[in-house]
Amino acid sequence: MGIFLVLAGIVVLFELVGWSVRGASFLFNAQRLLVMVLQVSIIGLLAIGVTQVILTGGIDLSSGSVVALSAMIAASLAQTASARAVFPSLVDLPAAIPIAAGLATGAAAGLVNGNLVAFTRIPPFIATLGTMVTARGLARYYTRGQPVSMLTESYTRIGEGALPVVIFVAAAVVFHVLLRYTRYGKYTYAIGANAQAARISGIRVDRHLVLVYTVAGLLSGLGGVMTSARAASGQAGMGMTYELDAIAAAVIGGTSLTGGIGRITGTVIGTVILGVMTSGFTFIGFDAYIQDIVKGAVIVLAVVIDRYRHRDAHT
């Protein structure tokens, strides 16, 4: 696993610089380890979804916007009765209702993506780009840009503490197992490796594509629920550019954009690398103007190192 070495290298670098700048360990701090993953756990959920889409040879650009739309819809149903602005007549609803609404919103967006990709023959890039723009528009239109705040405690509790990390890890385990050991996974890899061959060998490619995009949408919906619970607010600007971080995490983790190659474990490490960089830059007090320049370079470098080692192993 070349990418694991990249992660280790980045951590060691921050550890060394950290000692000289702060006089404390970067890595050996339980609280910081939690924060590192916590801050990328929602991007991680999206990354797990987009990894599966990329495995089929597609792409999902809509995930960040779907986070915003799901967050808005879930939050509007999670408002306390006293502060309720979107649906004034309702009483405090149990958290299950806004959660279900958020998940359903995400799944519906994924369903649209899947059907566009499977049945209109337009490239996934364009189909999900359309959904990206439309979902963001819907999120803004829903309350005319107004934030939806004052959410019930039973709802915000699901975004507190380490729970987002637990959900991220649980989702990773579930989809790791599904991809490696079930027919769902075999079909996904087969379609990405060669859609024509998959079709000839009897896989109902169109139906499976719809399923994979819907799963990705569902994970984005979950991301929206977690984001709004965490921030105790639903806002139309949420999840901005998350789709790109999610794709970056998948690709850093060794997922091939041409489809058929990639693993959830790699995506998890890719996600953690993004989190480590954010925490590390803050830890060493790195100039904010330079952070993104370095982050972009590290993303490319990580993939280059991984590919280089990958080629070594096979020749």
Binding site: R140, G237, S279, T282
Partner: protein, 315 residues
């Protein structure tokens, strides 16, 4: 304007894409002032727009005609040209992109139509006669915020700054003002300064990172309320008594006023949308009558504290 007329106007504007002349509620004799807004759907700008409409309806012989650039500079430029060709008495521009203002200034000067920029400060350092800016000074927002935090800190301790967006003029000026205030007091020091993109989740993550880095922070000066609320949430979730770390924001949003009521937010700063709206209309009317107006009309920011926040609830 009745809401029916208003929505009819809006649909026509949206359909034609550029503001078509002939859709004003004004009688033909009344001089019309064209108002080119950057966004119709932005929360704060909606208050500004409503304030201008309300103020104009109270001035005999003054009618406003609005256009929505939807954030697009090119669209705004053509809307402004339409106003000028239509022969309006004056134009008020809420710039979609402040770097594009020299072009608008030129159009107005060539047509000899008075021009008032509102809220967003034009790129030019000096404005020609007949062109004025009505708005608030972001330096003042940062100064008010940090002076109040400094007073609450007894003029000693460590300050962390949450910067909005690196490219945002408002964020840069507010940050600079905070730094200038801290520099005045020898027993105060800026220990951290990072970007959180004006977003609540980013503020939450950033504060988490600071807390785990073990920096002794006595006050957080955030460029807006959303990031400040994120910081408050991180402090609360870390189990630290919030009164130990003072948090200040800017905007006096409803969410921020609720935090002030709870005592978790120490200070916010109110940007007077109604004041700016009234000021812009007054300046446009004066200029159209040939009276002179200062090139820069500053509408003061106002300090919002735990003591006086109630008076801002309905403003």
């Amino acid at each position: 304007m009745s809401s029916v007329v208003k929505s009819a106007c809006l649909s026509v504007i949206l359909l034609v894409a550029v503001a078509g002349p002939g859709c004003g509620a004004a009688s033909p004799r009344e001089p019309i002032i064209g108002v080119a807004m950057a966004h119709f759907d932005d929360n704060w700008l909606t208050i500004l727009r409503t304030a201008m409409a309300d103020h104009a309806s109270g001035l005999p012989g003054t009618a406003l005609q609005f256009s929505d650039a939807q954030g697009d500079v090119a669209r705004q430029l053509s809307q402004m040209q339409n106003f000028v060709t239509q022969g309006v008495a004056a134009v008020i521009v809420n710039a979609a992109d402040t770097s594009a203002t020299p072009g608008m200034t030129k159009i107005a000067r060539e047509a000899r139509v008075p021009l008032v920029y509102v809220n967003r400060r034009p790129a030019e350092s000096t404005l020609p006669p007949g062109v004025v800016f009505v708005g608030s000074d972001d330096l003042q927002a940062g100064t008010l915020q940090m002076e109040e935090l400094a007073r609450l800190m007894n003029y000693q301790g460590n300050v962390a700054i949450m910067v909005g967006e690196l490219a945002s003029n408002g964020a840069q000026l507010r940050t600079k003002a905070v730094e200038d205030v801290v520099a005045k007091y020898p027993r105060m020091k800026i220990v951290e300064k990072q970007v959180a993109n004006f977003q609540r989740e980013r503020g939450l993550d950033l504060m988490n990172n600071w807390l785990t880095a073990g920096a002794a922070i006595d006050a957080v000066a955030a460029n807006n309320d959303e990031m400040a609320i994120g910081a408050i949430m991180a402090i609360q979730q870390a189990g630290i008594q919030s009164r130990n770390i003072l948090v200040g924001g800017v905007d006096a949003t409803p969410d921020a006023l609720a935090e002030l009521a709870k005592g978790t937010l120490a200070v916010s700063v109110f940007q007077d949308a109604r004041g700016q709206g009234r000021g812009a209309v007054d300046a446009a009317v004066k200029l159209s009558r040939g009276e002179s107006v200062d090139s820069f009309v500053w509408i003061p920011f106002e300090l919002v504290t735990r003591e006086n926040f109630k008076s801002f609830v309905n403003r």
